[in-house]
């Protein structure tokens, strides 16, 4: 039987990646009572996934130790499906939670952007970070032939990680042109730590050729991936492989900020210098405010933690570090901007919505994301548009603005147990 739990906290933090852990620990060390909620079975987010079981990443070890020494109440394996009136509604496998908070910190992180191309639904076509996450979760890759494709520094990180675990990385296809990557390197001189990191990553996967202006045009196979066809500077070639690990950089998880009606501009949550959103007492830290990586996430998390605990002066001492790491955000956005050719990879019958098997042709004819949902069922499956909606934003310039609670699929029992008013009569967000 499910148990139901009502708890009160000074600060609730959603997301136990670097930003959320830093925020929770910082607020708790200031004396606040803190709850830290996360969907994953263990804290660490994606970048520190599996770190609890013997990793050597010193930064993760340090923060996870600080977390375990703190008074933070960690509520893992728990999905927040609604937030309203100073209260979170959440569900875990055997419990329902109602968390009452005075201050809320959103550290919901980012997910990979997947773009449709023929064959992208075949088994063993996986995310780049996705394959890394699965290997961190126990999947052996020794001797597996992997093509890595997409865009962003994550491709190198994944290539290095997989190579060290015995995979044969056949090539890395980066869609950005070489000239842009060179400018990125120059911009990173201001943040030497990032340059060193990039050099180390490249060294770890030094045997794998790195193609620029290259991307997958088709995944080939019957019931499973057998080969990938890539376009390398306009030349097509086919490469046999066991996995295609493909991700087109990251998009922020904005479902909760949007449900709370936090102001979102150019795809990211707007925050003031204290990391506070347009909603008072609601803070945001990490990737939802701009894709900037782990160091920026930690600093923003610390600032949000201090701010939520009422320690503005401590927060201010971290502003300079934040400014330095924020340079990464703009440089990454420019360097890894998606080229228009990527919007033309899907054929008319390629599925855009993988949950409901809706073809790109059936989505394209509609005027907006909302219309496409209503008429084609695109984005109406269990992922609620987390995959196809982000792709549609790039392909058609739409905004995913028709969000309603529950923002995560939950059991009927959880909905029934929600305190009223459960579901507002009007959809949230400004889409009517």
């Amino acid at each position: 039987m499910d148990s139901s739990s009502h708890r009160n906290f000074d600060v609730a933090v959603i997301g136990a990646g670097p930003a959320g852990i830093a925020a929770a620990v910082t607020a708790a060390e200031s004396g606040a009572s803190v709850a830290l909620l996360d969907d994953n079975p263990a804290p660490g987010g994606q970048i520190w996934r599996g770190s609890a079981s013997g990793s050597h990443h010193s930064e993760s070890t340090r923060w996870l130790e600080r977390l375990s020494r703190s008074n933070v109440t960690l509520i893992a394996g728990t999905r927040v499906f609604h937030a309203h009136d100073g209260r979170l509604e959440a569900e875990s496998d055997d419990s329902l939670w109602q968390i009452h908070y005075s201050k809320l910190i959103l550290a919901t992180g980012a997910r990979e952007l997947f773009l449709p191309f023929p064959g992208w639904t075949l088994p063993n076509v996986v995310g780049a970070g996705g394959l890394q996450a699965m290997v961190k979760s126990g999947l052996p890759v020794t001797g597996k032939r992997v093509v890595i494709a997409g865009t962003g520094p994550l491709l190198l990180a994944v290539a290095g990680y997989l190579s060290e675990r015995g995979a044969s990385v056949l090539c890395i296809c980066e869609q950005a042109p070489f000239s842009q990557l060179r400018s990125f390197t120059l911009a990173m001189v201001a943040v030497p730590r990032k340059l060193v990191e990039a050099a180390q990553l490249r060294f770890r996967c030094r045997r794998a050729p790195y193609f620029t202006s290259a991307w997958p045009v088709a995944a080939i196979g019957q019931d499973r991936l057998q080969a990938v066809r890539i376009s390398d500077n306009g030349h097509l070639r086919e490469i046999e492989c066991d996995y295609l690990a493909c991700g087109f950089h990251l998009v922020p998880n904005l479902e909760l900020p949007r449900a709370l009606q936090c102001s979102v501009k150019d795809g990211f949550v707007e925050v003031n210098e204290l990391q506070e959103t347009s909603q008072s007492d609601v803070y945001c830290a990490g990737e939802p405010t701009g894709i900037g990586g782990m160091e920026l996430s930690i600093v923003e998390g610390q600032i949000a933690g201090h701010s939520a605990a009422g320690r503005r002066n401590s927060a201010k001492q971290l502003f300079a570090a934040r400014t330095r790491y924020r340079r990464v955000v703009g440089a990454m956005r420019k360097t890894f901007a998606l080229r228009s050719e990527l919007a033309t990879l899907a054929k008319h019958d390629t599925f855009l919505c993988r949950c409901e098997d809706v073809s790109i042709e059936d989505v394209r004819k509609h005027a907006s994301w909302r219309a496409a949902k209503l008429h084609s069922r695109c984005g109406m499956g269990p992922c609620q548009g987390r995959v196809c909606g982000a792709a549609a934003e790039f392909l058609f310039g739409w905004t995913m603005d028709s969000l309603r609670p529950p923002i995560f699929p939950v059991r009927c029992l959880s909905l029934a147990a929600m305190s009223s008013p459960a579901i507002p009569a009007q959809p949230l967000g400004g889409s009517q």
Binding site: D39, N40, P41, Q46, R49, S53, G77, R111, E112, F114, T121, P123, N124, V125, V126, G127, G129, G130, L131, Q132, A133, M134, S137, G138, L139, P140, D223, R224, N253, R354, C355, E356, D357, G381, P382, C383, R386, V387, P409
Partner: protein, 81 residues
């Protein structure tokens, strides 16, 4: 402490490293997690709980995201769905 554990995927025993996600057991055995509404075989994609492609039945409970659930000894996983 045991370094591996055994689960069953579609009735067939699969040995996985202790601490593995259910998605790992699925990838090491059937290789597919579900059949899509138009009949395509599908397998885990995002590895982090957002895409729902990896959902399977675990110990009789349907629609569990196999990437977010850890294997337990003697777990019954049905990846036919």
């Amino acid at each position: 402490m045991s370094e591996t554990l055994t689960v069953r995927v579609n009735g067939t025993p699969v040995i996985v490293p202790a601490g593995s996600a259910v998605a790992v057991a699925v990838l090491l055995s059937s290789g597919t997690s579900r059949t899509s509404v138009s009949g395509q075989p599908r397998a885990p994609l995002c590895g982090m709980g957002t895409c729902f492609e990896c959902r399977v039945e675990i110990n009789g409970q349907p629609h569990r995201r196999s990437c977010q659930v850890l294997c337990e000894e003697n777990m019954e996983i049905n990846a036919h769905g």
